[in-house]
């Protein structure tokens, strides 16, 4: 029997013959570099290696691909590749009604979707010059702050999970489940609430929501603090996050960071105070800041923000007035032609929407500025010099949500 000509040497083991050799997927792209940065990144010096943290990885932030250039265990450079969750939301919004925009935008920041729904609503209200009833405004603040707490609780669990600690995520999810069931009693949905409406909110507070909220408020802060003391003084956690990914104020502004990463460097920029919206001018709360700017400071800042949010919810419950929950608006909305920019403070940073209207019932352009998109850029700046295991800590401490990064 003749030797078949199709047998080639295996690329894994050159002493073996196989029918079809394995396909080698190289981290270096098959086309010549198109930009300066790409040429610089994909040129390997002696001893350097490219490692691909592929779109599927155990870190729970979503589908993010990171190409690492490493020298031994140290990272030399880092190239994130986005777009694995790009769903074309802005284009869909251009072809939808102003009302439909709400449900297209809420999966962007999917664990804090009250915020991602709120901003296009705010932009549309600016274009329509609508006055939202005060009760609706208070309910919006209540729902947003509850969502902020659940998002922060999850963040703290995820940071620990990415560092290898599997227990705190269970506590985080326990907190989140309780809040999310509360919001499900209010809105009907656990995750993508579809609750904000142009001119108000969808449904009024009901008995089940208020009873769940009362039960939760009675032990909320204490339980979160108790579960987070698991991590705060944990030697391994502190040792791994303190001093990691330190960023100073000037660099933070140059990198267009917003939200907890910016406040952890010491700049007290919070859209709720810098450019107040809704009823935040009437509420009393502080803007927590930290000075160090490292991952540990960002983590502790989230805990501070949870406390402030509980304080806000307390005030809202005492001050909420009676009244309608929706402004009177025509069913077919035709805002005035013009431009509007609206921004709010989401758990990740400054969430903005730039809406352009041409007088029809479809937005002409709806640009969604997601904070995770800008915050994630800093990973490339902060990682070089650290070990591979530290990237996850840095990325987790910047709290990106790939739904918003990729839109």
């Amino acid at each position: 029997m003749t030797a078949p000509e199709t047998k080639v040497r295996s690329l894994d083991d050159p002493t073996m013959f196989v029918d079809t050799p394995a396909t080698i997927y190289d981290a270096i792209p098959p086309y010549p570099p198109r930009t300066e940065r790409e040429a610089e990144f994909y040129t390997l010096r002696d001893g350097e290696m490219l490692i691909n943290i592929g779109p599927q990885h155990p870190s729970t932030h979503g589908v993010l691909r990171v190409v690492l250039k490493i020298d031994g265990e140290r990272i030399v450079d880092l190239d994130p590749v986005l777009g694995y969750l790009h769903r074309g939301v802005e284009k869909i919004c251009e072809n939808s009604d102003w009302h439909m925009v709400i449900s297209h935008c809420d999966p962007l920041e999917y664990i804090a979707s009250m915020f991602s729904e709120y901003v296009p609503v705010l932009a549309a209200e600016k274009l329509l010059d609508v006055t939202v009833p005060r009760r609706a405004d208070y309910i919006r603040v209540l729902a947003c702050e509850l969502n902020r707490i659940s998002s922060h609780a999850l963040f703290m669990g995820w940071l620990a999970l990415d560092l290898g600690g599997i227990t705190p995520i269970l506590y985080g999810f326990l907190e989140r489940d309780e809040i999310v069931e509360m919001l499900a009693a209010l809105t009907g949905q656990r995750l993508l609430f579809n609750y904000m409406r142009i001119g108000g909110v969808n449904g009024d507070l009901n008995h089940e929501f208020m009873s769940r909220l009362g039960d939760w408020m009675s032990h909320a802060l204490r339980r979160i603090e108790d579960s987070m003391t698991l991590i705060n003084s944990n030697e391994i956690f502190v040792g791994r996050t303190r001093g990691l990914g330190r960023i100073d104020r000037q660099t933070a502004l140059r990198m267009c960071l917003t939200g907890p990463p910016l406040r952890a460097t010491g700049i007290p920029y919070d859209v709720r105070r810098a450019h107040p919206y809704s009823v935040y001018p009437e509420l009393e709360f502080e803007i927590p800041t930290r000075e160090e700017g490292d991952s540990y400071a960002r983590y502790l800042l989230h805990l501070d923000e949870i406390k402030q949010s509980v304080h806000i919810i307390d005030q809202v419950l005492h001050r909420i007035p009676d009244g309608p929950i929706m402004a009177k608006l025509p069913r077919l909305l035709r805002p005035r032609p013009g431009r509007a920019w609206a921004a709010i403070e989401s758990p990740r940073g400054q969430y903005g929407v730039y809406a352009m209207s041409d007088g029809t019932d479809q937005p002409f352009r709806l640009r969604i500025h997601d904070p995770s998109f800008f915050n994630l850029q800093s990973v490339g700046l902060l990682s070089p010099g650290h070990l591979i295991a530290d990237i996850m800590a840095i990325m987790a401490s910047l709290d990106p949500i790939m739904g918003g990064v990729d839109k």
């Binding site: 599927q56 979503g62 589908v63 777009g83 074309g88 995520i169 999810f173 656990r190 739904g403």
Partner: protein, 232 residues
């Protein structure tokens, strides 16, 4: 017309004598009639009674019994193997978007998937049994996802979680998403919802366990590739 009218008894339930479910159950409608006699095709029986695909693929469709080499006499060993496979399904961490949050919720304390054996969410496809695709599949991600599927060793199953994976969902009009993962992967269980509640996902996984025990589904006589016929 009363619904529970004692003068009009309900028709007898249709029973399959040999237990096979490869024929559609067609129940004659004697319970009620529409007010307008011309509605519903004027009372003519429907022309489309079952999916044509059932004929196309014969006994290789997903309603068919396993027709491999052990078809003749399923032994107790097969039963035990199925039991083992069903009760320790290890999912691959393939959370893409929002549904991943509900998948994680289903895996954590309150709705615990660990009691069904599905605790270890493996990071590597080589160690995983079931690919729960949770979240929108974009065209850029389709390549890596199919590659993950191909890297998973047999026996493997696929669960489409969420509306985006079942049919494209709220991104039906998008230029960058795959309208349902059954265009690229053979799906065993569809769990609709946007996102489905964790209990819904657990129900889907229990259905998958039933599929495995009954040896239905695409494995192992799998048509590698999409299960949506061409032209759809």
């Amino acid at each position: 017309m009363e619904v529970n009218d004692p003068a009009r008894p309900l028709p007898a339930p249709v029973e399959e004598p040999d237990g096979s479910v490869d024929r559609p159950l067609v129940v004659a409608n004697t319970l009620w009639s529409a007010a307008d006699p011309a509605a519903y095709d004027g009372g003519r029986p429907p022309t489309i009674t079952h999916l044509r695909e059932l004929e196309l693929y014969g006994d290789r469709s997903d309603n068919a019994r396993f027709s491999g080499s052990l078809e003749i006499i399923p032994t107790k060993a097969d039963y035990v193997l199925d039991l083992i496979r069903a009760n320790s399904l290890w999912p691959l961490l393939s959370g893409l978007a929002c549904c991943a949050m509900e998948m994680m919720s289903a895996a954590t304390s309150k709705n615990d998937m660990d009691r069904f054996g599905m605790f270890p969410f493996r990071a590597s496809p080589r160690q995983a049994d079931v690919l729960i695709v949770a979240g929108t599949l974009t065209t850029k991600m389709a390549g890596p996802l199919v590659r993950l599927w191909e890297e998973m060793p047999e026996p493997k199953w696929c669960v489409a979680m969420g509306d985006c994976t079942c049919s494209g969902g709220r991104y039906k009009r998008s230029y960058a998403t795959v309208q349902g993962i059954d265009r690229v992967l053979p799906v065993d269980v569809y769990v609709p919802g946007c996102p489905p509640r964790p209990e819904g996902l657990i129900y889907g996984m229990l259905k998958l366990q039933q599929l495995i025990m009954a040896r239905r589904g695409h494995w192992p006589e799998r048509r590698v590739g999409p299960s949506v016929p061409a032209g759809v």
